[in-house]
Symmetry: C2
Subunit: 219 residues, 2 copies
DNA sequence: TTACCGATTGACCGAATGGTTAGACCTTTC
DNA sequence: GAAAGGTCTAACCATTCGGTCAATCGGTAA
């Protein structure tokens, strides 16, 4: 699809179609995200998009199809590539950058993150595809961390107190915990930098930059 | 139908009423928990409870009122008192027991935990009272941990790398992270004992020989 | 002009929803 | 007996839901 949609301003019929389709998606995105699937009616979407209800059913065969389209559009910003900007860093910096990235992403995209989690928890059936994609992203992130930690351990930057897998599990658990607090208690819960510092501390032993603590039992 | 077998109040009319009310609550509990508020219809509840729909509206003025009643009943097992069984332990053991308690509770009550979280995330308006109660429980747990860690630090059992507040924040984040994995990835994610050990390790420093097997693992 | 076709609409449909009502049932009290 | 009142139900109501359909609009090609 999307053959010649580049010439937006022209008078081609596709342009009109694309535009209305986009309006519908935009309206549906907002409504679904704020109220969920079952609580949002097609009439509301139509009204919000300033379009007749029948047109929605011309663009999307069914309410579920519209919903899935919305999910996929909301999922787009989740696909980033970390590799490019991290290539030059040493492992320690990469790991901390990765952690920092997770935290700031969650904070910046809190509303859609909340939406996805709610959706996956509630409507197992409707969100099968979504769950697959999210778990895949999640697994990718985890694998990246595992490998970074393993490399750091090989280079001796990082003590071998735990296996890379269990260390990663612990770190990710902590990150998810922060996410939970963020979702339920609002922004105030924990400032990201503190969390990054704690992770660095736990993983590498007490490090230079924050000297406030005395010698540690890092063992 | 099963008229006067209860014998509680002899032949008083209230017995009938109480019984049907309970049946309704039981059915509603199951349906609401599995499908959510909007996806559950009063007719379904009536059918499941083998009762006429009108009777539900006689017991509960409105669907929302029934829902709130269900929430409160589901919330009952969350109120426990930890103090009694922990009085005799030293701080280290108390802290680890508290962590272990959190983990096993989440595992044993996974379905209602999932229900509450979903509900709080989705229907902010419907769950105001619920959110208040849950946050209060949460705050209580947190306060307990903070005080235990503070006492442990005073006694020198626990190094003072972090303030009790931030250490507690970190631990609880890790616990919530485990909860998240449990909710999304099923049982397999992390075995509780490993998590307890990691927490102990992080908080008290690595106590060389397999430490937790003093008298702790009893609980 | 006419014929065609993608895009768009208002009016409509059957099913289900939350909620109401009029009255029946049952037990106690006089 | 009859009156009273708590408990329960079948039938009903207005509304909304997801979805359909015949008809139209606007631009393009002949």
């Amino acid at each position: 699809m999307a053959a010649s949609q580049v010439k937006i301003g022209s008078a081609e019929p596709q342009a009109h179609s694309q535009h209305s389709r986009d309006e519908i998606l935009k309206a549906a995105m907002q409504l679904f995200a704020n109220r969920g699937f079952h609580e949002t009616s097609m009439s509301e979407v139509a009204r919000e998009a300033r379009v007749s209800k029948a047109l929605i059913f011309w663009h999307f065969k069914t309410k579920e199809e519209l919903f899935v389209a919305v999910l996929n559009r909301l999922l787009e910003p989740y696909y980033i590539d970390f590799a490019e900007e991290a290539a030059a860093m040493d492992e320690r910096t990469q790991i901390l950058t990765l952690v920092r990235f997770y935290l700031s992403f969650v904070r910046d995209n809190a509303s859609s993150v909340r939406f996805f989690l709610t959706q996956m928890l509630r409507d197992r059936h409707l969100s099968e595809g979504l769950t697959d994609q999210v778990l895949k992203l999640y697994g990718g992130y985890r694998a990246m961390l595992v490998e970074l930690i393993a490399r750091a351990q090989e280079k001796g930057i990082c003590p071998k107190r735990f296996t890379p897998e269990s260390a990663t599990g612990f770190i990710i658990s902590a990150l998810n915990g922060i996410l939970v607090e963020h979702l339920f208690l609002g922004e105030s819960a924990i400032e990201p930098e503190g969390a990054v510092e704690m992770v660095g501390d736990w993983l590498f032993g007490n490090s230079g930059p924050s000297p406030s603590d005395g010698g540690i039992s890092a063992a």
